[in-house]
């Protein structure tokens, strides 16, 4: 493997200044599960790797019980997310996704921040977070800023991050009552899959009815970046959530998707699966709302 120096800063500022001083030959690394493969294969050739793993305060999950805001550190591993009871009970859509990312061995090491920053069209960690209207806190030499996750991605492997910036936190806003959310990765095997298509749906129902107050439909692998299908979302708002309306939303989402043929799957099939899974995840949202109200 190509030679490089592995730098281990202890604070964010130290990391950022190391990045600044080494310029274009430096890159950040967290779990490293993707970076190592890319260096081995020659796709990346940094002279300096700046590890973010040893910076304090980046690998916690915090649910502020007063504000209802849920904060995920950028260095939280997928395994931590998978095993978190808060996530399993209150954000099952995140659990849906993370428990099927890679293998246990990968999830033990790979971080959610790394998954987002990689920005591969097939990374399915982002989809549930987009459905949850998550924002990212980003730290760099000019200080901290915040960006909506849906606006974070610009293309395959491309994000709004400026040189030297670090994703420090993922902020999930307070969830309304009567929120249901679900995600499904559609693959060929039961495990070790990149999604052929990934569908996350969030539905908030009005008090006392099955009418939709808010909807989010987020898709992975349906375009060069994760997308929301706004026409399908708009269609649902104000309507009763039923198999039929979800079916229609699925069709709209499928039309809105910009799927393509690849070795992993054909466009027409991906489009079909968007329609099917939007409907199924929508029904799962209803079921989850019902379950939470039964508790």
């Amino acid at each position: 493997m190509k030679k490089f120096k592995y730098l281990i800063p202890k604070t964010l500022d130290e990391a950022v200044s190391l990045h600044q001083s080494h310029g274009g030959s430096a890159m950040y690394v967290a779990g490293g599960t993707d970076v190592i493969v890319k260096i081995t294969s020659g796709k990346l050739a940094p002279d300096y790797l700046i590890s973010l793993k040893h910076i304090d305060g980046q690998s916690q999950l915090e649910l502020n019980t007063e504000t209802g805001v849920f904060c995920i550190g950028g260095l939280v591993t997928h395994r931590t997310l998978e095993m978190s009871s808060v996530i399993r009970l209150q954000y099952p859509i995140i659990h849906d996704a993370v428990q099927r990312i890679g293998s246990t061995q990968i999830r033990n090491v790979a971080t959610i921040g790394g998954n987002l920053v990689n920005a591969v069209p097939s990374a399915d960690g982002a989809i549930p977070l987009i459905a949850l209207d998550a924002r990212l806190n980003i730290y760099g030499s000019t200080g901290e800023r915040s960006v909506d996750l849906i606006h974070f991605f610009q293309g395959p492997g491309q994000t709004v991050l400026d040189r030297g910036e670090i994703v420090t936190k993922i902020i999930v806003p307070k969830q309304s009552k009567r929120t249901g959310a679900a995600y499904q990765k559609f693959g060929r095997r039961a495990a070790m899959e990149l999604p052929l298509i990934g569908v996350g749906v969030l539905i908030i129902l009005e008090e006392g009815s099955n009418r939709c107050a808010k909807a989010r439909i987020a898709l992975g692998v349906a375009a060069p970046t994760p997308i929301r299908t706004l026409s399908a979302e708009r269609y649902l708002v104000g309507r009763e959530i039923t198999e039929d309306t979800l079916n229609e939303a699925g069709k709209l989402a499928a039309e809105e998707s910009r799927v393509r043929d690849s070795v992993r799957g054909l466009a027409w099939y991906r489009r079909e699966m968007v329609a099917v899974l939007v409907q199924r995840m929508g029904m799962k949202c209803l079921q989850r709302i019902k379950e939470s109200e039964g508790r």
Binding site: F4, I8, I36, I106, V109
Partner: protein, 170 residues
């Protein structure tokens, strides 16, 4: 860059000089002679190189050697007792047909160990989930899962015994 790191390796503390660009797999196999750690793909997709770092199963082929500084690493060579007595999982794989060509076996056994350490009463679904990252082409996994289940049964009995002895409930 070279540096010296300190780690607990199979129960022994060692100091070893490494290069920054070494993977843990390279350190263990090529420099420390622990060839029980297998390389099946070098991309984290087959699990043959699985070792346990601070209690967690990881793919050593995509783990930086520098990152085990100060940590506890267990490879298949360190699993049996010092007197050679096999770990219950090793014994079970041997006795239940969990091994054919054997190339996936060290990683498979270590993934199973990490699971059972965390969840001694793992269900069949838990086992399959924990082993999903360890590919095997010989067995169809049936006897591998049985090998792990055989150990689960035993350890859950042990737990029941402990619970009874300490008078705890639930």
């Amino acid at each position: 860059m070279s540096r010296e790191i300190k780690l607990m390796l199979n129960g022994n503390q060692i100091f070893v000089a490494i290069e920054d660009n070494w993977t843990l797999l390279y350190l263990l196999r090529e420099k420390l002679g622990l060839t029980g750690v297998k390389e099946g793909c070098g991309q984290g997709e087959c699990g043959a190189c699985t070792v346990i770092v601070d209690g967690l199963a990881v793919n050593s082929c995509i783990y930086f050697a520098v990152e085990v500084d100060g940590k506890d690493v267990l490879t298949i060579e360190g699993l049996a007792a010092a007197d050679g007595t096999l770990h219950p999982l090793q014994k079970s794989f041997v006795e239940n047909g969990g091994i054919q060509c054997g190339f996936c076996t060290p990683g498979m056994i270590l993934s199973a160990k990490a699971l059972l350490d965390e969840n001694p009463q793992a269900t069949e679904a838990d086992i399959k989930q924990a082993l999903a990252g360890n590919l095997c082409r010989c067995t169809g996994y049936v006897q591998i899962v049985e090998s792990v289940e055989a150990v689960v049964d035993k350890s859950s009995e042990d737990i029941n015994v402990v619970v009874r002895e300490t008078g705890e409930s639930g």
